[in-house]
Symmetry: C2
Subunit: 173 residues, 2 copies
């Protein structure tokens, strides 16, 4: 029934499955995390049918999640000449993956949060002493903290891996 897989492929299987579970804790759909794991460890780019077969999922599911990963800039589309299928290839460089995810999470999750905090702060800027004033202060504190975090992240994001490493070593040393 199931073909005999080489040892490394068994480990890969395990990696894909478990990465999928871990993904859900991070708010990432199980299948999306699995496909990402699969492609990160793929010797060659894979097409939709490869992914469907490997994970035993429907075409629609494979398609949607592949395109979502492309939307996250974690996966790119490859075309081979003389073949009209699309192939998908994941970024494998860990530093680049980190940068990409940081950028996307900043855009999708941090920036909307900051917008909210600013709205709430603006609506209460004239509050005098008392609970209203404290609320305003809390919104500002959160906003300032996130702003600062974003600034740090932007700096790190713009660094080459080597410089970031060097800088971090200084912190640790």
């Amino acid at each position: 029934m199931s073909k005999e897989l080489p040892e490394w492929e068994k480990a890969r299987e395990e990696f894909v499955v478990q990465w999928g579970s871990l993904g859900t804790q991070w708010g990432i759909p199980r299948t999306m995390a699995q496909i990402h794991a699969l492609l990160m460890t793929a010797p060659e780019p894979m097409c939709t049918d490869d992914v469907m077969e490997r994970l035993e999922i429907s075409r629609g599911n494979a398609h949607t999640n592949l395109k979502d990963l492309v939307g996250w800039n974690l996966v790119r589309i490859i075309t081979k000449k003389g073949d009209r299928k699309e192939y998908f290839e994941a970024e494998k460089d860990v530093w680049k993956i980190f940068i990409t995810i940081s950028k996307e999470r900043k855009r999708r999750e941090i920036e909307p949060a900051m917008q909210l905090l600013r709205d709430c702060a603006a609506r209460t800027k004239d509050e005098g002493a008392g609970p209203g004033r404290e609320f305003h202060q809390q919104m500002q504190d959160l906003d300032e903290f996130l702003s600062f975090g974003v600034k740090v992240a932007d700096t790190v994001i713009s660094m080459k891996h080597a410089s970031a490493l060097q800088w971090a070593m200084r912190l640790l040393g």
Copy 2:
């Protein structure tokens, strides 16, 4: 029907609702995020019934999520003398919130991931050249990256807010 709320309470209402939606993107249950937002902006500790009423949720729901927040060390239980109810109070200091969340996410999400990567690397350490070797390398790269990240995080976590700020300023400057 609904009592007239002061302006800051309207802003707070908005904050609670939106923070809840943002939470889901982070893989945090909506209600848990809402309760956290509510307590972070509460002038006084609140009891289970206060939370139920304010968010219009059931006792079981309020209870479970309050206890989960206590489990995350983001909320602590307060008792008032002559009153056998439990009151809940959220940490409001932004730096402390950050430290707490970092610690918990490390423990719950990063460490299991590293365990997986190490298992997969160990299972393939004898792979010669070829795809098996590359898989092994990928697992190691991911592991090393996370290990390094954890080291940096541990350093930051152990810092006082002021020293962290000073250090970050140097990076930005």
